[in-house]
Symmetry: C3
Subunit: 209 residues, 3 copies
């Protein structure tokens, strides 16, 4: 299996995980199936569309490759058959969102490098791909994005994953097997950070009431 096929699969799996997180939010907000499909598509494909627009290397893959439409549809079907409490929806949402984040910070960085972006720009686009879909999901559902929730440990894992990917690729040591530990590490960091309530200092040292 060559590198570009591996990358395509990584990216499609990432789209699926994020799309499921979008459909889960749609279910929790009691949207209907059409709203579920739209939120799944925006969440799964939004970050990549922004990345491809910035790369300016032809139309975004979400529009030019019909294969990218399969994961959101599959996500809607998956979530339709889940029957759970609101609390369990939240826990599933975090797990799928974390898996999407882990896959996208790697695949987004690699796709940017493949389009000849500078390693620094590629890592930034990896982070943009990873956090973009989730921000669009939450903004459209009229929530403050999870990224700004102090109880979440969100952008730092994506940043670390994208940076490690860009470094490994620049050193020429990146092949499918190298990406696995990065993906697992990012996923673990995001979930552990949330579980252990890792705190990041507030934006200002002190807000006087």
């Amino acid at each position: 299996m060559n590198a570009s096929v591996t990358l395509l699969i990584l990216d499609l799996v990432g789209v699926y995980f994020f799309a499921v997180s979008g459909s889960l939010l749609a279910a929790r907000q009691r949207f209907d199936l059409v709203g579920s499909l739209l939120l799944a598509s925006v969440t799964g494909l939004g970050g990549g569309v922004v990345r491809d627009l910035v790369l300016n290397a032809g139309p975004p893959v979400a529009f030019s490759q019909p294969l990218y439409l399969a994961p959101p549809v599959l996500a809607v079907v998956t979530v339709y058959f889940i029957s759970a409490s609101v609390q369990r929806f939240n826990r599933l949402l975090v797990a799928f969102d974390a898996a999407g984040l882990a896959l996208f910070c790697v695949s987004g960085t690699l796709l940017a490098l493949a389009a000849h972006a500078h390693p620094v720009a590629a890592a930034l686009l990896g982070v943009t791909t990873a956090v973009g879909g989730g921000i669009l999901r939450d903004v459209i559902a009229n929530l403050t994005p999870a990224l700004f929730d102090q109880r979440e440990f969100y952008a730092i894992p994506a940043f670390i994953g994208a940076t490690l990917t860009a470094i490994a690729a620049s050193l020429g040591v990146l092949h499918p097997l190298t990406t696995v530990p990065i993906i697992v590490f990012v996923f673990g960091l995001r979930v552990a950070g949330r579980r252990l309530r890792w705190g990041i200092p507030l934006a200002s040292r002190s807000v006087v009431e």
Copy 2:
């Protein structure tokens, strides 16, 4: 009257209808005239800007053709002279939004085909053009987009209209007269779906409280 002039007129009329829906929302939210112009512009032109960015065929028409600035200005003037109750504003908003949706799912698809997009991608871009402006309008006004409101029947009419347009164009049977029944059908479907409260199943079969 040749095909591209007809298409331009269709598109400009669509911009006007959506722009009026933006100005009506601005009036309902008691924004001032400048907010009205901005919301009219974003609603009328936003979907098309996203479509043109994705098509990657030069700067979006909203910026390159000054003619596209006329409908939002006209919309602001139209709404300024409407004096109505909040309830009537809502009813007008739905009517103008439905007309914009009907025109844009046709004109968006045709403009994408004219830029040599694949029929599947063209239909998707038609839907994006049709629902994009309304989503931007509602997100900016800090509301959950109408599309996710269960009482609305929103994205399916746009999807049907864009698909019919792409099929008719691919079969070579599309000329100005063919688009009229599609536009009327989409408008009717949207309005009838709302009036008759056509239900779409929820995103999940069951949410246990």
Copy 3:
């Protein structure tokens, strides 16, 4: 110092002022340092990214020139050491936002002209650059954008500044010294309009309750 270096400095200073406004909002909303960096980046760089995507002249500078990453980081550090009341945060936010608006309506217009945009399109892109970052900031923080707040006098100063810049550039009388009075005028107009509660008529002449 040549014209393009002056323009780069104007633009970077604009990014810094807007980024500070983003970090100040993050502090007021009690986001953490990562949320502060993200909101600073989106506010400072968002308007320019939209402008560059519309201009379609290669990847946005925010991604291609690493120098653009410095102002948001600096903004986060600046705000971290500010210790103030919520009310004072609001006053600082307006001041930095007004400074960013004044700089961006000039630099955005000039950058669009440099990319060979038509003067009318250039002025529109200047306004887009100036108001875009602030809208993204407020939408992401789940607030109704300041632009729609009747107590603010927001888009008109940006529009006047961008128009004056496009006219001065078209007449060939624009050099670094000409931009200074425009920037000061826009900043003064925004702050004075707010202080003196300059009213703009509502979007509709009358809303019957």
